[in-house]
């Protein structure tokens, strides 16, 4: 091949590569549009949000780890977030007269991302606990329990948390359950520690139980329940003592106005009956917070 024809070939290849990049870039823009979840046409706001700097752009940006069905997840084959948290966020945004957009972000980094202004709030099945409350403020909105996913017929006869001592338990990074297992090791298990296996997302932790790498997966009850239901009889769920701590919408410590607006909006959503509708849609009426 002569140098001349070589350079022509490379030129053609370069043009093709550029075309491919441009095509993908265009494609990405489309997806970004599709990923937005606008609330139904914003109604005139009943709540005054003029003093809330985060909502000045007419948009509530919510960070969430969207891999936790039925609270937040992507419907198979779509890039649209769905789930109880998503529906509730839409109702709240509607009450505030703003648009809502979900940003998918790893669970363990959500609080750090919120505090570095990546989004306005976090709604990600996040249980209120003392350590988190040192860093962010919460608006409580749902009271779920915890659940333990075990192989069918519960071979290790797990009934409560203390039965996990000595077993291998798969858990998601940064959750209250991960912290709970560490506390269990410190306080209850003695020399017979739980072997904690940590994963970035909860579905991988569940996969570890169904392929026998772990004896149990410890998560929130609605999630554990759904995981067992969808496992075609390979997994079942155990409900240990209920967790008294509710889920909360997290906001920055400095977001006092936003916290007030969200609290008001949540009250309005409860008053209009939408709160109960959303919970009923996901069969989680029992988790309602008065």
């Amino acid at each position: 091949m002569s140098p001349r024809s070589l350079s022509r070939t490379s030129l053609i290849l370069l043009v093709l590569a550029l075309a491919a990049v441009l095509a993908f870039a265009a494609c990405k823009d489309d997806k970004k549009e599709a990923g937005k979840t606008p609330s139904a046409s914003p109604t005139p706001a009943a709540i005054d949000i003029s003093g809330v700097p985060e909502l000045a752009d007419g948009k509530l940006l919510i960070g969430s780890d969207i891999a936790y069905a039925p609270l937040e997840f992507y419907q198979t084959g779509t890039e649209t977030p769905d789930g109880l948290d998503v529906d509730l966020a839409k109702a709240i945004a509607e009450a505030l007269g703003v648009q809502v957009e979900f940003v998918n972000s790893g669970f363990d980094g959500l609080i750090e991302a919120l505090n570095t202004d990546e989004f306005d709030a976090v709604m990600s099945a996040m249980t209120i606990d003392a350590d988190r409350s040192k860093l962010v403020d919460f608006v409580p909105y749902l009271n779920v329990g915890v659940g333990i996913v075990v192989p069918a017929d519960n071979p290790n006869n797990i009934a409560g948390l203390e039965d996990l001592c000595g077993l291998t338990v798969a858990v998601q990074l940064g959750t209250v359950q991960e912290k709970g297992l560490k506390a269990l090791n410190d306080e209850t298990c003695g020399d017979n520690d739980v072997k904690i296996v940590t994963f970035d997302t909860n579905p991988l932790a569940v996969e570890d139980v169904s392929t026998g790498g772990a004896d149990a997966n410890y998560s929130d009850f609605p999630v554990a329940f759904l995981d067992a239901q969808q496992s075609e009889g390979r997994l079942e769920v155990v409900e240990p003592a209920p967790n008294p701590q509710p889920y909360g919408i997290a906001v920055r410590k400095s977001s006092t106005e936003l916290k007030g607006a969200l609290t008001q909006a949540l009250l309005a959503v409860k008053g209009s009956g939408k709160y109960d509708d959303v919970l009923a849609k996901w069969n989680l009426e029992s988790t309602a917070l008065p």
Binding site: D108, G109, I111, E112, D131, K134, L135, A170, L173, G174, E178, K179, K182, V197, T198, F199, D200, L204, E207, D208, S210, T211, G212, G213, A214
Partner: protein
């Protein structure tokens, strides 16, 4: 200095974790996985490179397909398939008890590395003049003998620098094994960060140890390259050889 005070960085946390047993244990894990996977990768890589260079078209095609497969898929996907996928496929208890996440990680990283090493060694083989193969054979050596006694020893010098690169890349890439629940340096730091919310502090600890480990590897690589240089005059100076010179030792060891 207002901007500096605004940064919530707790130096004490860095001190607490720098030599914390959890971090040191995780670092040992990183080293074990890296070294074992590298040994597997280099050994299999040499075999594959020789197969590819051979005149046997079946051997060459098998090696070519292997390299294509393992280079064409991301290592995290390979880990998920090798661990979860195989365990799902083979429901046998004996297999599941032995196919631990740790072994799956070492073997997957090793098999993946073999594909890259095969190309590096192949480059080394091609760097040796083809006339040498003919010369070796005219002395009565078989193909494999010529490869082992004449070609590969010379290829080694060309192969060492990129292999050092691979080793360093592997050391850092082992963190992907978190996908199957293996905790090494990066993820031990990540787990501690998620619990304590001291994110940057823990990442600083991890960065420090990666720098230390990679520096040690780089020094060892320099020594090895020096040892492999035939001509005394061309021998590169290394930290170790310079130290010897400075201490009044012999020059050109």
């Amino acid at each position: 200095m207002d901007w500096l005070l605004a940064v919530r960085f707790d130096v004490d946390t860095v001190g607490d974790f720098l030599f914390h047993p959890i971090i040191l244990r995780a670092m040992r894990e990183t080293l074990y996985i890296t070294l074992l996977a590298m040994v597997l990768g280099i050994a299999l890589g040499i075999v594959l490179a020789v197969m590819r260079a051979s005149r046997n078209s079946i051997a060459s095609a098998v090696a070519g397909t292997y390299v294509w497969f393992w280079r064409a898929t991301p290592v995290v996907l390979q880990l998920l398939i090798m661990y979860f996928g195989l365990r799902q496929l083979i429901e046998d208890d004996l297999f599941r008890d032995n196919w631990t996440r740790w072994r799956a990680a070492v073997i997957t990283f090793g098999l993946n590395e073999a594909a890259y090493m095969a190309e590096i060694v192949r480059g080394g083989i091609l760097s040796v003049e083809s006339g040498q193969m003919d010369a070796a054979k005219s002395l009565g050596m078989t193909n494999l003998q010529a490869m082992r006694r004449v070609i590969l020893p010379q290829a080694l010098r060309v192969v060492v620098p990129p292999t050092g690169n691979e080793l360093i890349a592997m050391l850092k890439n082992t963190s992907v094994a978190f996908a199957i629940g293996v905790v090494e340096l990066m993820n031990a730091a990540k787990i501690q960060a998620a619990q304590s919310f001291k994110v940057m502090e823990l990442y600083t600890v991890a960065a420090f140890w990666y720098l230390v480990l990679v520096s040690i590897f780089s020094l060892l690589q320099a020594e090895l390259e020096r040892a492999l240089t035939i001509s005394e005059r061309e021998r590169p100076e290394t930290l170790f050889s310079r130290a010897l010179t400075l201490m009044g030792g012999r020059r050109g060891i």
